[in-house]
């Protein structure tokens, strides 16, 4: 059997690889069988020991495919050995009998440790650690103390043979055993309730199996403390019940393998459906709802399916599995480390989803580039706005200021001089005042000061008042919005009203500003002639960059004879 298994040099270690123990355990089993037959032990009893030992060994071998289960595998193999070693009690040598007596119940403690440290060999909790220590105390410790006081003539360790003391030791052993069994049951139930996903799939069968052995073990311990432990039939039953433990280990592995088959069935589905729910489907196949998919961009950054930047976690509670297609990394699956127990499952998903992920990666890359373009357009618009604000301020504080002073000075001069000169000065004054008005309008068009000071509603109402036809403003904007949103909405209204005045021959117009959740809706309607189009050189077309930087939509409805409606929808989420 062992000769057919290829062992790589780095795993040539008994603790790492129970395969090396196979010849030994088979030999030991045969020797025990011969010993038992030689001393007249019942065949059923011998068969029970062999069945349990070989089942434990087999479970240990099946678990070879789980790299993280190394310690559990070693414990299972050790339990098989110790179980058979206990049968040295059937030997005629007193020394061997004593050794067998000492090891009599140790296999139970080893199995308790397998369960309470499953699957990675670390105790689940402090309570689990205490229960494991308790199991060793009850089995190995109890037998050692028992050996010191035993009245049996075969016991070479007996130093103070007292029947009553030996019975008391047995009783304490029994009670400690019951305590450990109950603690085990409690820990099992608690663990079953918290496990999820891949970890639950792989571990639940063992937890349930171990839980089922507890009542049997407690009954056995109670019966032994009442009637003494020389009951071969009960020992046979006990070993039969313990078979559940290796069965549970193997069942967990096979239930994961079933999952793997399901994974390959999903290949077709993965390739057929749209990409939006790829993450959900992968999460379902892998049984890990926390799964994240990170797509790798050419520059080494990672993004999610929407193209938003993503960092791979450094968290020890998360594991990253890289997916490569033709040697090139396309994505990283970020998942629960319990999935490492099912490398074959992860591998099959990785193999089948590779191409779909590759496609998704390209799509995510395009989305990331779009987001980048939008962000850069936003920065350009913001920079232009800052510049407009600066120019507006300079116009006011510089040229406007001087013109105003000049006009006041001219006015003063006109009031103090003779009529002829006064007339000339008055005309100069008119010119200056005209220049001031034009300059003010120019500055306002460059950047609306009121918008900055008082917000969108006030600025739009001022626009409406300055428009030379009746404009009704209906508004429900509420709080101030971000500068780019307010500016975009303001310029839409401003350009639309300019068009109404210039082209629509309208008698009145209505402006509506509605904010619903994360969307600002701007509507400008008139009762004019309609037939307007967003010509490439119109003011509204000039707002394209500004609106697209915000992912906003602009719709112009203008059937001939039915007026014009300009609608802008501007996302304004924080």
């Amino acid at each position: 059997m062992s000769s057919t298994v290829v062992i790589s040099p780095e795993t040539r270690n008994v603790l790492r690889d129970p395969v090396l123990l196979v010849p030994a355990i088979v030999g030991a089993g045969l020797a025990i069988g011969w010993l038992g037959a030689d001393t007249g032990v019942s065949g059923t009893r011998v068969a029970a020991d062999l069945a349990l030992a070989w089942a434990l060994m087999a479970a240990s071998l099946v678990a070879l495919e789980r790299t993280r289960w190394r310690r559990s595998r070693a414990l299972l193999a050790a339990a098989a050995f110790v179980l058979l070693a206990a049968d040295l009690q059937w030997a005629s040598s007193h020394a061997l009998w004593t050794l067998g007596f000492l090891l009599e119940a140790l296999w139970v403690a080893l199995l308790v440790q397998v369960v309470l440290t499953f699957p990675e060999g670390r105790p689940w909790s402090r309570v689990a650690w205490v229960a494991t220590v308790g199991a060793y105390a009850a089995t190995l410790g109890g037998q050692l103390v028992g050996a010191l006081v035993l009245t049996d003539s075969r016991d070479v360790l007996s130093v103070a043979p007292y029947e009553t003391v030996a019975e008391a030791v047995d009783r304490v052993q029994g009670l400690l055993g019951i305590a450990v069994a109950l603690a085990l049951l409690f820990l099992l139930v608690r663990r079953l309730l918290v496990l999820r996903g891949a970890a639950r799939r792989a571990q639940a069968p063992l937890l349930v199996a171990a839980g089922l052995t507890v009542p049997a073990t407690v009954l056995w311990l109670v019966w032994v403390s009442a009637n003494g432990d020389d009951a071969p039939t009960l020992e046979t039953v006990d070993r039969a019940v313990a078979l559940l433990v290796p069965l549970g280990v193997v069942a967990g592995i096979f239930s994961s393998r079933l999952r793997r088959r399901e994974a390959s069935d999903l290949v077709v589905e993965l390739r057929a459906e749209g990409a939006a729910s790829l993450r959900e489907r992968l999460a379902r196949v892998l049984g890990d709802p926390t799964l994240e998919v990170a797509y790798r961009l050419d520059d080494g950054r990672y993004v999610d399916a929407a193209g938003e930047p993503l960092e791979l976690p450094q968290d020890p509670n998360r594991t990253v599995t890289l997916v490569r297609v033709r040697g090139e990394e396309v994505a990283a699956l970020v998942h629960d480390p319990a999935l490492l127990d099912e490398p074959a499952l992860v591998e099959s998903v990785r193999a089948t989803a590779g191409l779909v992920l590759e496609n998704e990666r390209l799509a995510a890359e395009v989305r990331a580039q779009l987001a980048e373009v939008r962000a850069s357009r936003g920065r350009i618009v913001a920079a232009a706005d800052a510049e407009r604000r600066r120019i507006e301020r300079n116009l006011h504080d510089g040229a406007q200021q001087r013109l105003v002073t000049l006009s006041l000075t001219l006015g003063l001069a006109a009031s103090r001089n003779d009529a002829a000169r006064s007339d000339v000065l008055s005309r100069a004054l008119d010119e200056v005042e005209e220049a001031i008005v034009e300059l003010r309008e120019l500055a306002r068009g460059i950047h609306p000061t009121l918008l900055r000071e008082e917000g969108l509603e006030a600025a739009v109402e001022a626009l409406a008042r300055r428009t030379p036809l009746p404009v009704t403003v209906e508004r429900s904007v509420g709080d101030r919005l971000s500068d780019p949103v307010e500016l975009a909405a303001y310029f839409v209204v401003s350009e639309a009203l300019t068009n109404v005045v210039k082209h629509a021959s309208a008698s009145k117009a209505t402006v509506r500003l509605d904010r619903e959740a994360d969307m600002l809706r701007v509507v400008v309607e008139d009762d004019g002639v309609g037939g307007a189009r967003a010509a490439a050189d119109s003011g509204l077309a000039g707002l394209r960059d500004r609106l697209e930087a915000l992912d906003a939509k602009l719709v112009i409805a203008s059937d001939a004879g039915r007026g014009t409606t300009v609608l802008a929808e501007i996302p304004c989420g924080s």
Binding site: H396, Q401, T405, L408, T409, L412, T449, L450, E454
Partner: protein, 116 residues
């Protein structure tokens, strides 16, 4: 009766023409200041009856100066600016000033209408 007026503006030529306008109408210009700090100091020393106050000052804006001066027994404050009142929305009203005159329409009559 001759009222005492403080003129606050950072543009010296403007202060000069404003002074002439007001003095022509019989006001006494008690002093001039070029910024908010100077304005508050001058009010404390000269106790003028009225202040002609520019909104855009180099250190603080005129609204906050107007608010600081809006105490019982304080001077009547008239805000001026090269911008229109409309550009400031409700801030003129909220400042506690008597009123607002765009600089291009500044006249003694407009000033008198607000401070009397």
């Amino acid at each position: 009766m001759a009222k005492r007026v403080l003129i606050v503006d950072d543009h010296e030529p403007f202060r000069a023409v404003a002074r002439e306008l007001l003095e022509d109408a019989g006001y006494v210009v008690s002093g001039e200041a070029a910024d908010a700090a100077g304005a508050l100091a001058a009010v404390a020393v000269e106790a003028p009856d009225a202040v002609l106050l520019d909104v855009q000052l180099p250190d603080r804006d005129g609204f906050s100066v107007a608010t600081a001066l809006a105490v019982p027994g304080g001077p009547a404050v008239v805000l001026i600016s090269s911008r229109e009142a409309e550009d400031y929305g409700r801030r003129v009203e909220a400042s506690g000033a008597r009123g607002f005159i765009p600089k291009s329409r500044l006249s003694a009559a407009a000033f008198t209408a607000l401070v009397e």
